[in-house]
Amino acid sequence: MKFVHGVKADITADIVYMMCPMHLLKLEEMIKGLDHGQVLEILTDYDGALEDIPQWCERTGNEFIGLDEDEDYYRFYIKKQQKDR
């Protein structure tokens, strides 16, 4: 797992306490609104996201920048990559 610190995000989705599959639904919903190269930050305490979010990035061609650990939740950073560029 790739850990990062101090990543600056363009937009944040706070889904702490929301369970599966909200992390993937929110990810899809939020990434649609971003431009190529913009960074989405997802705050979640759902452990399944550790596996699901990097896999989702791989499948969709978006860049998984990494994750940061807060006191009681994770911060995931995803950079939007538009396939048609």
């Binding site: 306490y17 929301m18 369970m19 909200m22 639904l25």
Partner: protein
């Protein structure tokens, strides 16, 4: 026999237009809102429309409305959801002593789970003093919950002032708006609350639909885990007809509110003025700053439940105000918190008015009420007073 339904805080009949709006979702449009085909999307669109209608009623943004099954669920969700979400910040919660049981019992559950709860006292009108709130706050305080108006005594609480104090201290503010939403103007921005509970059947919508306003950006833990309904905040297949009904009822309430308030206020004034002519009958709650459709009393030397039954035999349907007094024959904690002596609190009676009531109903009640009171006092061992001793001096004079 004439029937006067004076129990509108218990529930209301459905507005005919609300029923019309709901019917298609019981019949042809029965789809699950999560389904991808058109039957599902129709249901999903209907829920989102209702969410906007409810949001408009309280001047909120559409996504900040989370549908629940009731006002009680909304209150549970607010208290337990915020306490759970913020327990790392602190474990102190403040509620008032005139809260509905869904708030008080949620607070008790929190106490059993290691939280400390302060129960705010009220004055003899049932009103919380914002200064008392200020003094009750400590560095562990995470949540303040005060009802916008108690359905038992009708007094409207100074929510805006309390919410301002909460905001200054970085504390989450919840108001139980079940009795007020749809009945008097409720504006979450103007009140400054972070959370507000509502129930559809309090404003001519259906039972089985409630909502919690959750300010955008506020983190709250779900009460019910499962699917992705309500953005993952409240699992369970939505009660689509009831939610549609709540939306329609909210839309109509917003349009008709001034007329409804004035209609009820006039009836309430007639009822209060007439009832207080009877000796040893006292108004509970605030005389002016109260719900326009609400009149509550304690009647000395008799027992409220007997009064309810005798009035109901005359077609006058009212309530004693709390489940404690009506089912458990226990003095209402809300009335006791106003300083009303336990014996007098037993004589509690609550009248709540609606659009189906008329001044003829009030006049009929005012003819029957003295007879019922007299009959019960004649039967009561205390009918001519508490007898020798000091109890006779403990009349409630607060209202």
């Amino acid at each position: 026999m004439r029937r006067c339904y004076f129990d509108h805080v218990a529930t209301n009949p459905l507005h005919p237009e609300v029923l019309d709006a709901m019917m298609p979702y019981f019949k042809d449009n029965f789809g699950n809102p999560l389904s991808v085909y058109d039957l599902g999307t129709m249901a999903r669109d209907a829920i989102e429309k209702a969410r906007q209608q409810v949001a408009d009623l309280i001047n909120a943004k559409q996504p900040s409305v989370v549908f629940t099954s009731s006002g009680a669920e909304a209150n549970n969700f607010a208290l337990r959801g915020i306490a759970f979400a913020m327990q790392n910040k602190g474990k102190h919660v403040i509620v008032s002593k005139v809260e509905h049981h869904s708030v008080l019992n949620s607070a008790r559950v929190l106490e059993k789970n290691g939280f400390v709860v302060t129960y705010l006292p009220v004055d003899n009108k049932g009103v919380v003093d914002p200064d008392t709130v200020k003094k009750s706050i400590n560095k562990e305080t995470i949540l303040i919950s005060v009802t916008h108006a108690s359905s038992e005594i009708g007094s409207i609480e100074p929510i805006r002032e309390i919410a301002q104090i909460a905001k200054e201290q970085g504390i989450v503010m919840h108001a139980d708006g079940v009795a007020t939403s749809g009945n008097i103007p409720v504006d979450v921005k103007e009140l400054g609350v972070d959370l507000l509970s509502m129930a559809a059947h309090q404003f001519y919508g259906p039972k089985g639909a409630g909502a919690l306003y959750v300010r955008e950006g506020l983190r709250i833990a779900p009460l019910i885990y499962g699917g992705i309904q309500e953005g993952g905040r409240r699992a369970g297949t939505e009660n689509v007809p009831a939610i549609v009904g709540m939306g329609k009822a909210a839309e109509i309430a917003a349009q008709e509110m001034p007329a409804r308030m004035e209609h009820c206020r006039q009836l309430r004034e007639g009822l209060i003025g007439g009832a207080l002519k009877e000796p040893n009958v006292y108004l509970t709650g605030h005389r002016e700053v109260r719900l326009p459709h609400h009149a509550s009393f304690v009647v000395e030397f008799i027992e409220g439940e007997a009064m309810l039954l005798m009035l109901s035999m005359k077609g006058i349907l009212s309530a004693s105000g709390s489940a404690c007094s009506s089912r458990a024959l226990k003095s209402s904690p809300v009335l006791l918190s106003l300083g009303i002596p336990a014996a007098l609190a037993q004589g509690s009676i609550v009248f709540s008015l609606g659009m189906d009531n008329s001044m003829e109903d009030i006049n009929y009640f005012l003819e029957e009420f003295p007879q019922v009171v007299k009959k019960l006092r004649d039967m009561s061992p205390f009918g001519k007073g508490w007898g020798a001793g000091s109890q006779g001096e403990q009349c409630y004079t607060g209202g």
